[in-house]
Assembly symmetry: C2
Amino acid sequence: MTDYSRFLSPTGRQLHESAIRRMGTVVARTTDLVSFAAGYPDPASFPWDDVREIANELLSGRDGSVLQYGPTRGYTPLLETILGVLEARGIRTTLENVAITSGSQQGLDLISRVLISPGDVVLVELPAYTGAISAFKNMQAQLVGVTQDIDGINLEDLDAVCDRERRAGKRVNLLYLVPNFQNPTGALLSLEKRVRLLEWAERRDVLIVEDDPYGALYFDDAASEPETRPMRADDRHGRVIYLSTFSKTLAPGFRVGWMVAPAALAERFETAKQSVDLMTGSLDQRIIHEAVVRGVLPRLAPGLRELYRGKRDVMEAALRRELGDRLSWPVARGGFFLWVKLPEGADDNTVLARALEQRLVFVIGSAFYVDGTGHDRIRLSFSAPPPERIEEGVRRLAGILKPVSV
Amino acid sequence: MTDYSRFLSPTGRQLHESAIRRMGTVVARTTDLVSFAAGYPDPASFPWDDVREIANELLSGRDGSVLQYGPTRGYTPLLETILGVLEARGIRTTLENVAITSGSQQGLDLISRVLISPGDVVLVELPAYTGAISAFKNMQAQLVGVTQDIDGINLEDLDAVCDRERRAGKRVNLLYLVPNFQNPTGALLSLEKRVRLLEWAERRDVLIVEDDPYGALYFDDAASEPETRPMRADDRHGRVIYLSTFSKTLAPGFRVGWMVAPAALAERFETAKQSVDLMTGSLDQRIIHEAVVRGVLPRLAPGLRELYRGKRDVMEAALRRELGDRLSWPVARGGFFLWVKLPEGADDNTVLARALEQRLVFVIGSAFYVDGTGHDRIRLSFSAPPPERIEEGVRRLAGILKPVSV
């Protein structure tokens, strides 16, 4: 029997496993499970008729390039329509700054490869999206957390942490943020802080990775479109690398995201992508392109906001009814998640273990913290399950948390 | 103006650009160009009707998971059908050994991350596939070349090179091979050498990366199916990581390849893939799965072999007619390429520069050599252009090479 561990690289030995993806495996195996784990969009919201019609036309065989290899940077007409999507968000840019990625996750990976040297400090929020944590850690970054307030990252703490790490001799080049409906907290970074962050990045000579999957999914009762204005829109000094995706608005099964970066970096990301996967799927890019051209995004968006706001309401009402005295959470102003504080003394791993026995799954809070804390929180995703399953899941959670203190 | 070079990681600074992908950009920009550059399959061979019909059924909306996130390891029914594809190639394995990749290129990238430490020696053939060279170099591997004979890698040289590098204190864990219709030489590794390589890998404690995109595309006049038997089929000691793809047999626009590896490594590759792109496209995987289930592969394969053999014949005949006294090449027994030796004293870069003026493009030989040689060769791909364009391209090549010595 060959022992393979001695063949592993440092990266191979220390791979960081995604807590969310691991939960996905549990979900696939268990029947009658309620999953509040992964941030899956609701498949009932996917534009099935549009996609079927578009695919049917594209696959007529008239244009061989639909199923052929294509440029690493992306299908040019899609890149052009993305310029329009960006402009609607206040971002004016040009083709040399944009690249298609195989989902936003690939954007995080390309950034890691091109910009992170082993041992570099990357600044992230406490808590932060686990997929970003994994991508950065797998390039042997040292992740250092910055506290968050209700309106996003704490700027005083940010500056103090950056200063402390640099004094300790660390290279600190990157700050990772999800300004719109942060994963997992749902926080919306205030417009004032966005402006101050751009100034801070210039003063401190740092690049900001602005990850924006949820910007279009604001809830009208608690947020408005102008409040989601990306930092990249006001980035006069080329400090922001902006990531977004069609996964939450069209469908995630198409692995199509994009990044906006200074041209010199976009060219590096493209070269890195050559050896990573050559290109993003041609058919996926074509379908997305046609969907955007046909106006599917603006047609869908109001319904999506209403759908997810409605599901948030169902989950909040159920939680208040069943566990209002034991749990608390900041208002979700958009996105897919409630970020729930457990009763005093409860531990996220213990609660999850008991939940799994009751066929309920969610993501433990500590998975989002790079400083080892967060055991007093859990992330509940309301986006995928139908309302009655949300209710059922909350009843199961209540069954665990109510009778005895955990 | 921000200077971004100081933000780059060692990887970001030293990224290895693909000569083939660069040529692809040239192709996209020039009109009336004949491209013998990239190994694109012929889009006329894609199973358009099958794919359209399958997509239409899948996109009815009955099964939401068609456009949803899915497991990183891959869509389980597709993994199961791949076990059948493998069995037809003599490889008996189980689900825990198989993983879907976003094209074979991603397999090379995952191997690089999980198994290559910076400074490691990776053994490759002289010449070798550029996409593998890029993937390994981007993990800061040191690539060391091994000579090839007409029947594949030279085993005496292989052993001597491995020994020499280890004596020099290098870690030598990996040998990369394309046994079937090698890219770029078209060489078919003899069955005897395959057996001896497996013994050698066990004796020398090396893992073999067996990259097999072209195995199904043997030409009946010069090779037979039994001669393409993968080394993985006879790998009793778990020494082989096997890569293959649907890109050359169904269509490359679906980014769907797969890898077969010892379970302990497959699990590492899967974890690495989580942070690389979460998963391979769902719709792509579903379409491929249905195509395989419906028997499209065995139905297409004989026609593909005939198609590409016919194109090889067209190119060979034209080359013999126009340049028979000036060029030579080993017989292409399968695959997509002729590996052409230039006239004495000609240089690949010079010939390419003159070819581009005549709207003809191919890949320079030296791009495939990790030792700086190969300037006396060019790789001509006959797979994509229609016969009359192959003829036209060869006439252009003759116009360059005939009148004056280059």
